[in-house]
Assembly symmetry: C2
């Protein structure tokens, strides 16, 4: 017998979780498209040379690299920005310019698994390629804010900076300053000194003012809908990745302390590594797991274990045809309906099954109901039952259909 | 400079294709949930021993296997049935029994790429685990038929057989008979003889009648909604995979000749390899690429290149604020709206951008429109323009919002 186990850092999503993930993804897609971004998909595997030396030395060690059966050096998708850069180089002539795309796919990193950190996780990216305008940066900020609002978050902070404000600082100093949120001001100053830098650099940085471009970004974003009070010019914000060249930002949800749920900025030189000439770009990625965790904490996620709304029971085996017909009617009306998988079992057993799966309602049609031309609808949570016609049943459940999510939300 | 290239057998999906894929996936999810199936997600990587020796020797050679950074032998998802079997073994005690799940994820096979065959492709699976009832088999047939109907297919054939009818035939003979569709009757007979079997075996097989169980499956499926004329008892149907134990079936779209779009059946012994005791199961997979190809042929796919419905132009740079406000209004009304990415360019250039992206309409708000309290809506395909209020504009586009697909369909 083979041991059934999942690899460390990898996860199965059973229905309750998979439903919630779909719900959030559908909402994100909806907002991204509302802002004029179109979907893009790229392969799970890329040539290793496409991925290597893009993210920094540390990241290169986290790539899943191997030789395929044809001896090609390949690697698994590490993020969605480098694949986007490759796509621009490969299809630039047939894509609109500027190009706005979103991409929601898993990425793989051989990290040491720990709480909230996985080796396979979903990223939700949106980018505008081909525009160096401050308006593109504003749109990116607006999209990030609007997505969080659509997901139900009431309070969040967008810390914004311009990477050019840091350009005279050594990379090692930037890395230290980037830890401000984790180790605090004193910690940063100590580390700066230890590394042989002037600790006063931090205070000098804090006194800086936004660049002219950043000022325009920050002025325009509220006109496009970002609540003004969420925007914070944060001259100490550095962001880890090496490829940023202009505006950078991070979004934190108020009272969610596990870290920022979204980060991004302008990277005007990455794509040039594939095209030979620089193409400006700006964008962001939502970390899907943190987003889900924050939504969970704020009770913004659906709670049902199943998308199934009704179980049609079989009163007794010889009445099976009644149940088959009823099931078919309800499905044709667009209601998520399951036919009892235990048609020969006692009604109690069938209801137990519905309850175990989390189906909120069961429909019973016995000889009494058949002669009255009705059905009995049993609310399994409240343990109450009411009689109604099939038409009334269909009408009652039609309203529960939340087609926005692409899935049907379980009725309360 | 790094060469921008995709691995052989792997594909990028640019917006026009990605939109169509999302459209089809959303429809499939919708039907699957309507039939009481819940989503499941499993990791891209599994322990190699989970995957090996499940699909047959030939398939094992197609697995993407490698050693991860921790020295574990791992492999990429080859199908979704074996991961399902592992999930049942691992979480069986917390899952409803029977368990109905669907799963729509990419799988990877190191096949020799050829027309219509890729190394990364999407599978759409639906299975019922834990029921040995003929009703579960009927439900599986109904779901397959209903999915095709929901996708817009009018005519298709479901060939059905019972694997037990073939149980006295040698495996090599079954493999030969399985080629009937490709090499014809004479071809099969020749090959049977060449392999030392009695060629009359084929005629004997053709004369067989459905088993008692299969008869009940075929009687029940129409009661649950399968058009009776689509069902064909086909005693020569064999199906390649070794793990089938009962009903097997394949679905072909009439006038689509590239092969079956869906296949499946009952496999009562696969899960036992993980659990140590047999658990009955029945289900199917849609081959997503063939489905898309057949839909393309039958003109069942949306044709837009973008999900964006409107481009809000900027009449002249100093009127930018008007356009920002209008963009924000339209987005708040749920309309997929892009703010012109060329706000400093002449109107013509902005309209060219909209056209290149495939946005069907542009909105213009110049001084005349501002004083009249209107906007001009330009239909870029028809090259006609009409004036209306913002309220009228919102009303006109609200009807285009197809929220069922999770994406917004381009207007007509």
């Amino acid at each position: 017998m083979i041991k059934a186990q999942t690899l460390k850092g990898f996860r199965d999503f059973l229905p309750a979780d998979a439903i919630r993930r779909q719900y959030v993804i559908a909402k994100i897609c909806d907002v991204f498209e509302r802002f004029g971004f179109d979907p893009l998909e790229t392969p799970a595997l890329e040539y290793a040379e496409t991925l290597l030396e893009k993210y920094g030395d540390e990241a290169d060690k986290l790539l899943y690299l191997f030789s395929d059966r044809g001896g090609r050096k390949v690697g698994m998708r590490y993020d969605q920005t480098v694949p986007l850069a490759r796509v621009i180089a490969q299809y630039g002539n047939v894509l609109p310019n500027p190009f706005r795309r979103y991409q929601i796919q898993p990425v793989w990193r051989a990290e040491n698994p720990q709480k909230g950190r996985f080796r396979e996780f979903l990223q939700c990216d949106a980018d505008i390629v081909g525009s160096s305008s401050y308006l593109a940066d504003s749109e990116i900020l607006v999209l990030a804010a609007e997505t969080l609002t659509a997901l139900g978050f009431k309070k969040f902070t967008i810390s914004v900076n311009d990477r050019t404000l840091l350009k005279d600082l050594p990379v090692q100093a930037i890395r230290t300053i980037d830890k401000l949120g984790k180790i605090g001001e004193e910690g940063v100053k100590t580390e700066l000194s230890a590394r042989g830098f002037d600790a006063g650099m931090l205070d000098a940085l804090k006194a800086r003012h936004p660049t002219e471009t950043l000022t325009r970004v920050l002025e325009t974003a509220p006109e496009l809908g970002v609540p003004r009070e969420t925007l914070r010019f944060t001259p100490t914000l550095a962001r880890g990745l090496d490829y940023y060249t202009g505006m950078i930002f991070e979004v934190e949800i108020t009272d969610y302390t596990a870290g920022s749920v979204c980060g991004g900025g302008r990277y005007d030189r990455l794509i040039g590594q594939f095209t030979g000439k620089d193409i400006p770009a700006t964008g962001f990625a939502f970390g899907f797991d943190r987003l889900m965790e924050a939504m969970e904490e704020k009770k913004l996620l659906p709670t049902g274990k199943t998308a199934t709304e009704l179980l049609v029971t079989v009163f007794e085996p010889k009445m099976l045809d009644e149940s088959l017909y009823l099931t078919s009617q309800l499905r044709n009306a667009g209601i998520n309906t399951e036919l009892s998988p235990l048609p020969d079992a006692k009604l109690d057993k069938q209801l137990q099954y519905a309850d175990a799966k989390g189906i909120p309602y069961a429909v019973i049609r016995g000889p009494n109901e058949v002669s009255a031309g009705t059905i009995a609808l049993k609310n399994l949570r409240m343990q109450v039952q009411e009689e109604m016609t099939v038409e009334a049943l269909i009408k009652k459940f039609a309203r529960n259909t939340d087609t926005v999510t692409g899935t049907h939300l379980p009725s309360e």
